[in-house]
């Protein structure tokens, strides 16, 4: 069996996760890593796999069936994905929801012109959560959908905390409110405010002599980040931070509360949830599994941009259609 040859662009937490996920999928192999840093300075885990400057991407154009982009959505991917789609089949995890249509257009144009295939916005939200919203809303057209996130680390909110004067280290967890989850599960289709759905929990290591009540006030009042939420701030030692707060757990819930029946009298509930020990490792596992699909669909001649909505589920599995029907249906 020929393995699916994967290259990685960007070797941070996500890129390293992709490298690890490739090890768990025997029908895939890592062929190269591209980086914006000095390639000499990047030490990867897989022996014998070369690291190149991203500017030298052309060198591996014929060596990779797909390039998985592991940069950030704010500035990296809007540029990199369309650009690299001119040379490769590409997969990214672009997650700025509001800018997806624009990103789609740019990537679609580039990949059509080059005859490549591109999957954008893969991961869990956007990604698996979007997929579950689609299935559940299509099946139960009358009802209400809910998405809850957490408990998990929000990178954006953690960054915001760290910009406050006097903060040495900081991390923020988004937590779904258990009472709200239960209300949704009851089938009552509640209207929930932002405050009722999630709380925000912050752990801060202050600099020596910092005014911690001022830090707490600044966090809690921060517009768009914290002011609409019930926020708690814990001040802890650097040791405690190091011990308990350096992982990247996350998770969440997608729920559809629907009704069926002659007079809409029957309550029907669909709930999808994930609980992740590591957000980047899980997202990476999603990306690698879709590498299988892009290789197959590209070999069938498809080009242009696709999202998780367009990909037949069978393409994600290493099993044949016959095996899937016999074992998994």
């Amino acid at each position: 069996m020929e393995k699916i040859r994967i290259a990685i662009a960007g070797y941070g937490n996500l890129g390293r996760g992709v490298e690890l996920a490739i090890r768990q999928n025997p029908d895939t192999e890592l062929v190269a890593v591209l980086t914006r840093r000095d390639p000499e300075s990047v030490k990867i885990l897989t022996p014998g796999v070369p690291v190149y400057s991203i500017g030298d991407a052309k060198m591996i154009q014929d060596k990779a069936d797909v390039l998985i982009l592991c940069g950030g959505s704010a500035t990296d991917l809007p540029q990199q994905t369309p650009q690299l789609a001119k040379m490769f089949n590409v997969i990214d995890s672009f997650d700025t929801h509001a800018r997806i249509p624009e990103h789609f257009e740019n990537v679609d144009r580039a990949s059509r012109e080059s005859g490549n295939l591109a999957f954008i916005s893969l991961g869990w939200d956007p990604g698996l959560f979007s997929l579950n919203r689609l299935y559940a809303e299509s099946i139960l057209p009358q009802g209400k959908s809910y998405t809850f996130w957490g408990k998990g680390v929000s990178q954006g909110h953690s960054d915001a905390i760290r910009r406050i004067e006097g903060v040495k280290r900081g991390i923020q967890y988004t937590c779904p409110v258990e009472k709200a989850l239960e209300e949704v599960r009851s089938g009552s289709q509640p209207e929930l405010t932002t405050r009722q759905k999630h709380t925000r929990e912050c752990f801060v290591v202050p600099h020596d002599g910092a005014d911690i009540s001022k830090i707490e006030q600044e966090i809690k009042g921060m517009k768009n980040y914290f002011d609409e939420y019930d926020t708690t701030v814990h001040f802890i030692s650097e040791e405690e931070f190091e011990k308990d707060h350096t992982k990247m757990p996350h998770g969440g819930f997608v729920m559809r509360s629907g009704v069926t029946g002659e007079n809409r009298e029957t309550s029907q509930m669909i709930e999808y949830s994930i609980k992740l020990g590591s957000n980047p490792e899980f997202t990476a596992s999603v990306l690698v599994c879709f590498a299988r699909a892009i290789a197959r669909m590209s070999s069938e001649g498809m080009t242009g941009c696709r999202t998780i909505f367009d990909i037949p589920p069978a393409y994600l599995s290493s099993l044949t259609g016959e095996e899937l029907r016999a074992k998994m249906l």
Copy 2:
């Protein structure tokens, strides 16, 4: 907009559910019902829609974009689906897992020869549960999968109870064991026996003068049905049965407990669950939503048999690709 014209074959609980689901989907319409009973004797809910004998199916061949088969898997569907696939695009909910490959072959042959498209084994298990097994196992290749059913009515077990002498009415609920669910959620990947996963709860209305301890013994010892489970039997009055036990609730859980990371040290959990007020109404909602997909895929020229694994999710929605990306991704 032209509506998707749906015909129903078989007007029991599922067929009636399909009729109700069509009302909830404004882009679909019911055009006819086929029955094995005397058509005159079948009163449906939708005014003006004709009921024909199933032997007269040919009469509506040009009037329906898809025929949804609502018969049973034991004897109806193995015959009906291949036969009616010669005339129509067909959708069924064939759920005898072990016989799916054979059923697939028969339906595939018939529908290819006639140039029609067929979707088999739709619903929730097989169906949505299968889909979730496929996504989760493809994303987390190293791990363990679990399926729990219930709390819900098992038709087969209820039938078995009703065959016992002295039983006037009877119903059986399959119940997942909460402790087992929690063990799986912990990430410990337990090995669970049949007995550890589910219990069986029976409600029986005995005939006057029946030997209830004999009934209880017979139920609990019944091979393949109850002997491997912890079973409780409640004897109740006919009034209580009528009040509390004439609905068809069901549900269940599909869970994937996986590991990622350099030394498989990271626990990752995916859980999908449904809680249904009415099993047939929910299954019917799934079937009608896939009618949208079969109409589209058929109009693109596809023929032959497909399962839920082969159908791109976007085809289930009435929204365009552009709308889906903007609103749901």
